[in-house]
Symmetry: C2
Subunit: 339 residues, 2 copies
């Protein structure tokens, strides 16, 4: 420091964090309420008569993704995990905040790819970046996102409102991601499970990049009695819904939708059904609904291009039972947890 | 896995993450829209005619706090950093989401203290926990918070709306935290700076635990032309406000409010003025306002118990100049950045 009035005034240059934000993330902040990421906070005007739905979920390198995963899939996965929660609640996305902690090894090319993938998803899901926080960390890279959506006042689809007699419906296919991560960790499994190259690629892709069911959000909103995002495994998440609703579920294992790849793996190693039903990262939605609504739900789901399968019923009691040949499967580890 | 119907149904027990949330964090989720943290998301009903103000900021062990800091100060600091942003924007807190990444060394006693401090602050600032995400990490402990507030529609106090001729006012005292962290790192400085025990304790406390100026938020909302939270140092943050507003600021260094401890340190080592003006973690607010509003602003600030000091003026041009004896100080590192 010196008393030298010929030098630049304080702060005429911005910090490296500011430059990084301006270069990579400000272009994603398309909502006027994000103020181009130059303010302390964002401001959004909620739609009249709507509630704001908010959720947060994050990823840590080595815990939720492989450190050498393509950077665009890391940012997309972090956003899509949160979008999946909004979809399960019947909410339309509004935007998100993102806090990232970057190890020093991260370079411009990595950041550019990370931001590009994130920007593409922000546009695809109509969920703009509203603000963020960027730090360096001596630890692994992490991305923490808080996402916001809207539902008509009082309309958020809860976990706790399933009713005895409701149908249990699940979107997409279950267990692909749990198999995909195993393939990533042990390449020998592909031969053991007799998977084609295409099947291997499909299972790995399901782990790498979730396909959240936001297209179905409005259908969930109008028909579901209760719903939950399947992120910690179908068995564990359905059990959470049952606990919250003080009901039981009886699931017919043969009706749980499996991809062709998952069916091939299960044919080669039947015990894999536990991994598929209890593994995480499906990012499907389990919906309960009154039986008389099932036909309309199916029709509307088909219209928005989301496959749905009825897999069982809600009953009195507690716990989610997965029945095969009249007997309940018992799982060594019912719910997947990164924790 | 076994086909054994005598075992418990899947998911009758909750995961360790669920137990941790139920034990430590659900008691903090006092807002009915948090659903006791048992759902995928929270739902809040915004007040009619209000905008939602949202911000995110986080802390990482070894970057933003010392790993052996008391756990209750870590959670409080993470929340208060965000509350400070809301205060600077004139927003009333509504609630927050929290994502925490915990190393395996964290035990129940640590978590209990962390949650207790957070709960006390959530009540003190009327800012309840609305939801969260809990993960284990192989890296340092981190806490990422997204906080929400409300302002009347269109009323968020921006950085970009300072006007030529406005007064520049700052709350509290500047630079204590920058000195406090230096004392934490080098105990010999206390003697060099001729600080009493009480002065040392006060400076360290300012670093350990911010005192955000939320009591002033409503006064800022009604009087400020622009405002910014002082978290990266007065010089750098005021420069950001000037850039955003396309104006300059001329600050009278001798009018920058310093604590007795900071004045003692500056008397012993005059060059410390740079550290005080450019150091981070003040969590004060810089406000610009029309001169005719200054008297009312002062009176209302006094009524809510927040000290405010007029330190300079907004002028045409660019950059924030800190003037002493008619000359502008030049700083080696104008803006503090954890990044």
């Amino acid at each position: 420091m010196a008393d030298d009035s010929t030098q630049k005034p304080a702060g005429a240059d911005s910090s490296s964090e500011d430059r990084l934000i301006a270069r990579y993330f400000a272009p994603l902040a398309s909502d006027p309420g994000a103020f181009g990421l130059i303010d302390d906070a964002a401001a959004i005007t909620p739609s009249a008569g709507c509630d704001l739905v908010m959720t947060t979920d994050g990823v840590i390198a080595g815990v939720h993704f492989f450190p050498d995963d393509p950077p665009d899939t890391i940012s997309r996965k972090a956003l899509r995990m949160n979008l999946s929660d909004l979809a399960a609640k019947g909410a339309r996305p509004i935007g998100f905040l993102m806090a990232i902690a970057l190890p020093s090894a991260v370079d411009d090319a990595w950041l550019a790819a990370f931001a590009q993938g994130l920007g593409e998803d922000a546009r695809r899901y109509d969920c703009p970046l509203l603000g963020g926080d960027t730090d360096h960390t001596p630890g692994p890279l992490s991305v923490s996102i808080a996402a916001f959506g809207e539902v008509p006042h009082g309309g958020m689809v809860r976990r706790s409102s399933a009713r005895v007699g409701d149908c249990v419906v699940v979107t997409g296919t279950i267990g692909d991601s749990a198999l995909g991560v195993r393939l990533r960790r042990d390449a020998d499994l592909a031969a053991k499970w007799q998977l084609t190259e295409a099947m291997q690629a499909q299972l790995k892709q399901r782990y790498l990049l979730p396909e959240p069911r936001n297209a179905l959000a409005d259908v969930v909103l109008h028909h579901a009695s209760a719903a939950i995002d399947v992120s910690d495994g179908l068995a564990g998440d359905l059990a959470k819904l049952c606990r919250a609703s003080a009901v039981a579920a009886a699931i017919d294992v043969v009706r749980v939708p499996l991809s062709e790849a998952a069916r091939a793996a299960a044919a080669a190693e039947p015990a894999l059904i536990e991994a598929m039903l209890t593994g995480g990262d499906d990012y499907e939605i389990v919906v309960t609904l009154a039986p008389e609504k099932l036909q309309a739900f199916r029709a509307e789901a088909e219209r928005v291009g989301v496959a749905v399968s009825e897999i069982g019923r809600i009953a009195a009691g507690e716990g989610a039972r997965f029945l095969r040949g009249g007997k309940a499967l018992a799982f060594a580890r019912p719910s997947y947890s990164h924790f």
